[in-house]
């Protein structure tokens, strides 16, 4: 028996230990094993964008959208309406055009609307849901519009209203709206990492 030979039983034990360690560390959210740990970390990055005002303001649990970095209830009694597009005579598009109107300070994008209630990322007191709750919501194909990982990645990469978050235009005061904490490339990369990791969700 050479000294550099590892016996099968020992190898098996080591593999077991590593695997067990990975399972334990994943469930604790620690970062010892590269693969699944990266998935959760990537998700946390995605989450940080989703709950930023540019995104979460239109993922409310209420009858209204929010606005501004303080996520105030939208002024002038704007309401969700049956399809998330406002109500007859008072639509999102009553003000929001297909692109930003920087001279007047109105944000705009194609098909400006509220996310459906199934995609709410807030509670009814307008507080953001936890990372785990948002993760479960967006990975639940019964709630997310039937999107699998690839489709979610595509959504984050191409959807005009998602892209708007990185070119949100100027407000009424002429100042640029603040951006999400990651740039769009980083957001897409984090989403890809998370999807590649099997879309793990924190507990």
């Amino acid at each position: 028996m050479s000294s550099n030979r590892v016996s099968a039983p020992i190898l098996a034990a080591l593999i077991f230990l590593c695997t067990a360690g990975a399972v334990v560390s994943a469930s604790l959210g620690k970062y010892e094993d590269p693969r699944p740990v990266d998935g959760i970390a990537a998700w946390q990055q995605v989450y940080s964008v989703l709950v930023s005002p540019r995104c979460i303001n239109c993922h409310t649990a209420s009858n209204y959208p929010e606005q501004g970095d303080n996520r105030a209830r939208h002024f002038a009694n704007v309401v969700r309406g049956p399809a998330g597009t406002g109500v007859a005579g008072f639509r999102c598009v009553t003000c929001h055009q297909k692109e930003n109107a920087d001279s007047t300070g109105v944000p705009g994008g194609k098909n400006w609307h509220l996310a459906p209630l199934s995609m709410k990322w807030q509670d009814t007191n307008d507080q953001p849901l936890s990372s785990a709750e948002v993760c479960r919501a967006i990975t639940d194909r019964a709630r997310n519009g039937g999107l699998n990982g690839a489709a979610l990645l595509k959504h984050h990469t191409e959807e005009p209203l998602v892209l708007w978050a990185w070119s949100p235009g100027r407000g009424v005061d002429g100042a640029m709206r603040t951006l999400p904490p990651l740039n769009h490339d980083e957001f897409v990369a984090a989403t890809k990492q998370w999807v590649d990791a099997g879309m793990p969700c924190p507990k």
Partner: protein
Amino acid sequence: MSAATKRSKDHGINRRSFLHASVTAAGGLLVSLYFNRASAQEGASAAQGPPKINYPPDAFVEIRPDGKIVIQVNRLEFGQGVQTALPMVLADEMDADWASVVPQLAQAKDIYKDPVFGIQMVGGSGSIAHSFQQYRELGAKTRAMLLSAAAKNWNVGADTLRTEPSVVIGPGGKRATYAELAKAATAMPVPANVRLKNPSEFRYIGKRTPRLDSRAKCDGSIKFGLDFDQPGMLTAVVAHPPMFGAKVRGFDDADARRVEGVREIFQISLPRGSGIAVVADKFWTAKQARDRLKIDWDTTEIAKEDTTALWAKYRQLAGTKGLSALARGDESALDKIASANRIVAEYEFPYLAHTPMEPLNTTIRFDGDRAEAWVGSQFQTFDQMAIAQTLGLKAEQVLFHTEMAGGGFGRRAVPDSHVQREAAEIAKKLRGTTVKLIWTREDDVRGGFYRPMFFHRVEIGVGTDGMPAAWRHVVVGQSIMEGTPFAMMMKDGIDPTVAEGITDTQYNLANFNVSIHQPKVNVPVLWWRSVGNTHTAYVMETLIEELAERTKMDPIAYRRKLLKPDAKKLRAALDLMEAKSAAWRQKLPKGHAVGFALHESFDTGVAVAVDVSIVNKRPKVHRATVAVHCGLAANPLTVESQFQAGSGFGLSQLMAKGAITLKDGLVEQRNFHEFVPPYIMDAPVAVDVHIVPSTDPPTGCGEPPVPVISPAVANALSKLTGKRYRSLPLVEI
């Protein structure tokens, strides 16, 4: 202003006080205040104050060949319906065909001054109260002159003639239309005395009459002041001081001048501080340029007000006795009442902006020796004088057109005419060019002239019968009149508007002491529809309901017991409200509560009951039943509308974002997203209005709807939550 119309034995100013204004040779403003001893109880004759003027009908009525009858309305129309009501009054006595009547808002002229106030103005809910008799007489005189003309034509006695709408009918069925007689009638002498109709003869007065301006206000054709246009007209905006009274130290307009269409950029002086005027072809151009100005403001000598600090100061002041506004009975009686039988209540009322829907504006053309102005003005006399002064002219050299105004609520009745002075400063520089000055909504919200902040501290000693046995009331808040021509209406340093609604309460309060503090604050303040009654009625009516509750008495019965025996109008209104609301009050759904309020202001008595529940954490007013004693209601439909909508306006006070606040000298609100008046869901769903039948002289209906609604809703909310609401607005309930 309201004080001028108030019966007020307590503060010594009579309702027939009036102002007389003129411009001295030097251009200085001279305002004389006249007092008259007559009181409201004197009846019909009291409706018209001195001096007695024999108004010439031809200054008010024009009968055109096509039969149209053009009637000059001597005051601004800004929603209150005077442009319909005053012509009704005149047309009735004249026997004019209503369908032929065309109202016109009169230019600024002496003849159009308010007969009681002595200046041309709208305020103090005096439009009908002060001009009812005047317009009746004008109508009757016009008719008499037409009859004289017909009598002369037909060579018969005038007493053989009668009239039907716009037609004189003579013996043997002779007929002549008013249009046919018009020219001859103008040559007839103006009769000094005319017989007025008995109420039973009225054709239009007292009948529900639709507004004459409805269609034009529904099809976009009506022209407001802001819609005024002329070829070659320019538009101006002004960069106003960020703090009241700040001055321009220097400015850089290089970027602003690059905006295409900018004509002139220059510094102007303002009544408080200075500013930069931007004149351009169009509004958007001017605003774009204004946004690009870099201005260095000198704020070193400015008191930088902060509403949080002001509340602390006001609270402290309220703990001390102020100037005595009323002292009745034994002031120490309160201290002899056991503390368990005392109520101590402190109330806070914030600054409120008027924010009429049509932003403030004024158009002026200055031609050196004359000027022309177009203004939606509540104060034509003052505004005309201010423009004249600024341009170095006499008032009569300024042809002043009264423009239709989109609301006002007091904001277009500014003693110093600061908007008109600003516009005149600009017009002076652009001689020969018509310039329209537009205040943006942000200018308006941040521009001051708010309903003042008020703090009340009230101590009530409750007697063994549950009725108040002693009442000590301290009010703290800025004077509106001080430093204005209206200061002449102050007596012993007391602005009568500060505690109106308390000092003249119709409740029989024993050992009643009211004192006031009038701190000086660097925030311009102004009357806001119903003036002092906005806050005093709230305090009085929430406390009265609290007292009734404490005594376990029905709140209506409690009020009735506490009212003075001669509180005729309030008693009648209370009875009518009780009867008309009885049915729904007995069937209140679960989760609903009823609240009441009763208040007399501007000689009009109002009682209200509201049905309130809490929806989405806000009060929802499902119904309000209002009973009104306003004497003879000239147009009951207008009275109904004023009380329905005025209830909604009054609820401005309860809106979660219904306050103007300051921090480090800066107003914190900018526009309707931050200072939020009631929208449709915030206003009562239904308001039924009941008018006490009366032939007493008509009294005001513009302001009296406002004071009662907020305390009534707060009283209902207290029943639902068990809390007292003593700090407005209602940020949370």
